[in-house]
Every structure is written in structure tokens, then in C-alpha cells.
């Protein structure tokens, strides 16, 4: 299977604080990879490096075969056409309506100017997350779950080949978390996108993961399917699933 993300011995520090101490990861096309780990273990830093929001100190990080840290502004822009990022708090632009939030990446990434084409893209993606009635609402008028769906819609609107999810179910109730997890799975099947999902939410990991990696002190310490890791011989690994 084609590898879309290849990370080798990735290291990243903030001052004296070493966050990533040697990450190795390969994500294949159409695969959902879940990263589990405690707070501060380097999960978010890993996906921020993948998206080019942070630059690694050492190691290699290739997306679609190209080294991210060597990319200039234009190359990074091209990469981001194929990359979606769902932020922890959805990061909706709160001064814009739902429609404007969706139009924003369409105009800049896909360079679409035609109003009817923009509208049809917005409606299509809102239908897939079940939010067509909210197109003229402001983000402040949406519930937590709706914000996550809306964030997902904004990520999907440019039809990315890789989607990075930063704790997609944090702060949601159990039912909404399950809905979002199922939506992630549906999107993977519908768009055949590869995903890296960072989460603390075990039910979310169970629903969405093809493969799970456990990060601890900036390194992956275990890798496998949900059932394998849940029944691991290592008590520390099992503790994540309790």
C-alpha cells in the first residue's frame, strides 16, 4: 500500500523541554491511525509537524514523498490543498457565518470564485455532516457537537487526501462523541482519505482505528490493533484502555 506519511526519528523540543524524542510512523493511503497518549506526551506536536505548523528539530518527515521542512511557502500551500486539520476546539472563525467559514478555504485553496459553485460545495459538505440548516448561523450559535461537525465540514470542503484530527471528541457527551466517531469512519470510507486521529477517548479509538499507536514521553511505545493493545501483557499499555 502507498505510504502517504513517513516519519523517521522525529525530534522536537521547546527550549529545554524535549517533546518528541524519536518518532517513527508510516501512514498508508486510506488508513485510519489513532495515536493515544497522556497529556503532554507529544501527540498534538506530532500532527502540527505533519501539517507544517511546526518544524522538527531533527529527523525526517515526508508527506506524499516530500520533506515538509524543506518546502517553501508555495510548496506548503500545495501540500495543504491535500491536507485537512480538525482542531481540538474546531477553531471556527467566530466573526464569520458557517457559509463564510466554508467559503474561506474554497476561495484560497481551490481558487473558486463562482458563487453558485461555492454554494454547491458548501451544501454538499454540510449534507455529509448533517448541518444544512445551519448555513447562515454564527459559530457562537452552534452547540459543541455542531461546532465539531462544522469544523469537520470545513476540513472536508477541499476534499483532502489526509485528515489530521486533534482530539475530535474532547468536551462532548458520550452520544455526540459516538456520532462524531462514526462520522470520521464514514468520511474515511466516502473520501478514501487517510487519517491521523489523536484522542484520549477509547470508544472513539475503538470505532475509528485501523491501527493504534501509544505515545509516551515523546516516543511510540506500542503499536497494534485495538484488541491486541487492550489485552497487552504490559500493564502500562493496558492502563490506557481501562
Amino acid at each position: 500500500m502507498e505510504a502517504v506519511i513517513e516519519i523517521k526519528d522525529l525530534k522536537k523540543s521547546f527550549g529545554d523541554n524535549a517533546i518528541l524524542t524519536g518518532i517513527n510512523l508510516t501512514v498508508h493511503k486510506g488508513e485510519n491511525v489513532v495515536i493515544l497518549g497522556k497529556s503532554g506526551s507529544g501527540k498534538s506536536v506530532t500532527i502540527k509537524c505533519i501539517s507544517g505548523l511546526l518544524t522538527q528539530d531533527e529527523g525526517s518527515l515526508k508527506v506524499f514523498g516530500e520533506e515538509v521542512k524543506d518546502m517553501d511557502e508555495e510548496a506548503l500551500k500545495t501540500l495543504r490543498c491535500k491536507l485537512g486539520f480538525l482542531f481540538q476546539g474546531a477553531a471556527l472563525y467566530d466573526s464569520m457565518t458557517v457559509r463564510e467559514n466554508l467559503i474561506f478555504p474554497l476561495k484560497r485553496i481551490l481558487k473558486i470564485k463562482d458563487k453558485s459553485v461555492l454554494e454547491s460545495h458548501c451544501m454538499e459538505v454540510l449534507e455529509s455532516v448533517g448541518l444544512t440548516d445551519s448555513i447562515d448561523k454564527m459559530p457562537a450559535d452552534l452547540s459543541g457537537g455542531m461546532c465539531k461537525r462544522m469544523g469537520l465540514a470545513r476540513t472536508l470542503v477541499v476534499k483532502p487526501e489526509i485528515i489530521l484530527y486533534d482530539e475530535p471528541t474532547t468536551g462532548l457527551d458520550t452520544i455526540t462523541s459516538k456520532e462524531i466517531s462514526n462520522l470520521i469512519l464514514k468520511i474515511q470510507q466516502q473520501y478514501n482519505a487517510s487519517s491521523v486521529i489523536i484522542t484520549h477517548d477509547i470508544p472513539c479509538a475503538k470505532i475509528t482505528a485501523d491501527r493504534i499507536l501509544i505515545i509516551h514521553e515523546g516516543k511510540f511505545i506500542a503499536e497494534g490493533g485495538f484488541d491486541d493493545l487492550e489485552n497487552s501483557a504490559d500493564a502500562f499499555i493496558r492502563s490506557f484502555f481501562k
Binding site: 495543504r80 481540538q88 467566530d94 466573526s95 478555504p105 484560497r108 485553496i109
Partner: protein, 256 residues
Amino acid sequence: MPKELPYTQTLIYIADQANFLKSFFRNIFKSGFEWEELFHQLYIIGYKSIGITALTGFILGIVLTLQSIPTLKDFGAESYIPSMVSVAIIREIGPVIIALICAGKIASSIGAELGSMNVTEQIAAMEVSGANPIQYLVVTRILACTIMIPLLTIFADAMAILGGYTAAALSNGITMQLYFTKGLTILDFSDLFPAIIKTILFGFSIGFVGCYKGFTTNKGTASVGLAANTAVVTSSIWIIIIDVIVVQVSNSFLYS
């Protein structure tokens, strides 16, 4: 760990601001200028500040006139009121007071807006969405401040002169024609040019400080309030410093 040199933090802070300034200038001329956002900011910064600047200007004119009348009366120089008010307002009081009002209103709002966008990862989301946040958020806001604050000051100056006339007319019964003839004919290039240059620099500093403080906020929601607060304080200090420099430079060129 190497020992930190004295003033290292201050030097880092200065270098960071210089970098921010450099990226502002570099992004003005890049392709994909955000015209729509610039016009939106011109509307927010300009149109939505007209009321407060008009009111401030009008009251300033009244107060300056009422304060001056008794003193000028003692010297039998009441006829100088229109010229004194217009020269004082246009050369110094109008630009500085309006800039300070705008620092309170605009720099704080830019600092808080960008600060909250930063802590809620909206700026990072913008970057991932293919937009250049410096071009979209910073360039547009700094340019809007640089364009609108001089215009707001001109409008406020006009309101201040009108306020001065109202006070003079009510207390001395001076006619509008006489007041404006005396008030405006006294003005020349050396009064207007430094004042306009000053307001452009005030506008730039208000926009720059607001954007820098907001953009560099990264320590949670508490730092958003701090960003708004320090944006007002820092831009107010810059206004005073710029005022001193422009007065000194213009005096040495125009009156030497």
C-alpha cells in the same frame, strides 16, 4: 545551559518586533492581497469610530475655547480665539487626543481579537486553510489604521473647530463667517503637513502594536486581556514618542 546575558529578553523582544515589521512589509507586495478584508477593516476601524472621534473633537473645541476666553480677555486678545483654537487643534491637540482615543478603542480591540483567535487556534486554522494570516489579518489591519486614523483626525479637527465656534458664538456672539475666516486663514503648510505625517505614523503604530500584541499571545485566555491592555499602553507611549520626534524634526526643517 549557557548563562543568559543581561538584557537578552529585551533584545529578543526587539528582534521579534523587527521580524514582525519585516513580514508586514514583505506581505504588502505579495500576490493575493486581501482587498475584501481591507475594505471590511476600513469600515470597522473608520466608520465605527466616527461617532466617538466626532464627539471628542467637538467637546475638545468647546473646552479649549471656554478655557481660553478668560485669559485672552485679560489681555484684550479675544479676537485671537479662532486662530488660537484652530492652530492648537490642528497642530497638536487634535492628532494626539484622537490617536490616544483610537489607541484605546482600536489597538485594544485588534489585540483582543487577534489574541483570542490565536489562543483558539483560528490563526493556525487559517494557515492550514491556505490563507496567509499575516496578509489576511495583519497587513489589512495595519493599513486600515494607517489610512483611517488620519481621516478620522481631519474629521475630528473639523468638529473641534465647529465646537470652538459654538462656544465662542454662545459666549461672545461672534459670527460664523468671521470665526471661520479668522480661524482658517491663519493655517498654512507648516501647520498641516507635520500634523498629517504625525497622524499617519500614529495610525501605523496603533495598528502595528495591536496586531503584534494579539499575534504573539500564546498563554491561554488570560493573556488575551493582557494583550489588549498592553496594546493600549504601548501604542499610547509610541504616540507620545512619535509626537516628540515629529515636532522636533518638523521644527528643524520648517522653522530653521
